[in-house]
Symmetry: C2
Subunit: 211 residues, 2 copies
DNA sequence: CCTGGAGTTAATCAATCGATTAAACTATTC
DNA sequence: GAATAGTTTAATCGATTGATTAACTCCAGG
């Protein structure tokens, strides 16, 4: 085993851990399985990450943290609500369909280990000015109000708006077992379902917001 | 310890298991914790349920299976789409806000142990005529088509319609940690958020469907 | 060449965990 | 009271698990 001079071993462990944690969750993941997936000795997991919990936090930061820049880019921009909706829907569906197990994993971590999000939020707060995050909802709210005033949109609270948007993008992925088992949707059908969704969801949302 | 002649011990174990599984997930739940929660000796879990996995399946059946009758009632009825939307939103939010951890638990189980749903679906298929379940989507689709034809509604695929409806009801509960940690929503604020949502969500959905 | 530090390994540890066992207890029937 | 079946208990088991340990390898610097 060549020495890790460029962080390659650490990166291999992190990638393997991502695979295993996403598939089994934190409690269901096994360090030996991660070690095998990474092709290293189990002791290395502790050498590089100290404990299972720290490794799990690193994976969560890796997976969930990746979404933050693109989300901030969409909602921090000066584009219109319509554009934001369309960009977000397309971005989300396109990105997540490449890793369709991610939403289920994130929901599970949020549910069973919410401290992961607390830690991630603290970290992001360290790298982004607080004003960016705290101004998020009020800025969106101001944009909505402006549209309402000129009669272009119905009134909706910014948090409700966001929850609606994210819900409609996320849910097909977490509901996939239901679609498969109850409605008999195979992979090809799910893919068509997503294509259809990608095409029609922006209209659904924007129409809902029409006065 | 009085003898279990009326299923009381079994019921106590099941209730305790629900509490622990919902909180920690299947992999994270501990049999000894369930035994303590139920106030019985750990061996009883095996006596009554044979294994952890069977107990977990029993809990899933209990929790998820409870939703089925009311969902079938709403969507099997002859009421209009508008009424169905309103009934479902109110029913879902009212019921789930009493046990707000349930959606997170169900999503996690669907993700990590989809065979639970397979088993539950097989069981339901045994107690409901297959025609009820299989006709579900086509009937809804026919109802939608009828509304489209008379110009009362935009066209939408029944599965997309259902996913939208369920997504918008479920998601606030699974996103609760995000609302709390990122947007600083405390319990009172979350409750107000749900009240607002209960009031406005049917309109959001029905407006989205307006031609 | 030697030393120290970083990286890696196989083996082992100690604790935990789901599950089993044997015995005791309880209730019912004859 | 005895027998039987069902229920319950404390103790124990055997396997798994996250973590530790000691030894080894490699590299750079003195």
């Amino acid at each position: 085993m060549s020495n890790d001079r460029d962080g390659e071993t650490e990166e291999r462990i992190l990638k393997a851990a991502r695979t295993v944690f996403v598939r089994h969750g934190t409690a269901g993941a096994r360090m030996q399985e991660i070690a095998e997936e990474a092709g290293v000795n189990q002791a290395l997991l502790h050498y590089y990450f100290r404990s299972k919990d720290r490794l799990a936090q690193a994976v969560f930061r890796d997976v969930a943290g990746r979404m933050v820049p693109s989300i901030v880019a969409v909602f921090g921009s000066e584009s219109s609500i319509e554009q934001k909706v369309e960009q977000f829907v397309h971005l989300y569906i396109d990105v997540v369909r490449q890793s369709p197990f991610i939403p289920g994993y994130i929901v599970a971590e949020l549910h069973f280990n919410p401290e992961r999000l607390t830690a991630l939020a603290a970290e992001i707060a360290g790298t982004h000015p607080a004003s960016v995050m705290q101004a998020f909802l009020p800025r969106l709210g101001a944009q909505i109000d402006e549209q309402v005033k000129i009669g272009a949109m119905r009134s909706i609270a910014p948090d409700q708006f966001l929850v609606n948007l994210v819900a409609l993008c996320v849910f097909p992925f977490v509901a996939r077992p239901v679609l498969r088992i109850v409605f008999g949707q195979d992979d090809a059908a799910f893919s068509r379902f997503l294509d259809e969704r990608r095409r029609e969801l922006p209209d659904f949302i924007l129409n809902a917001l029409r006065p």
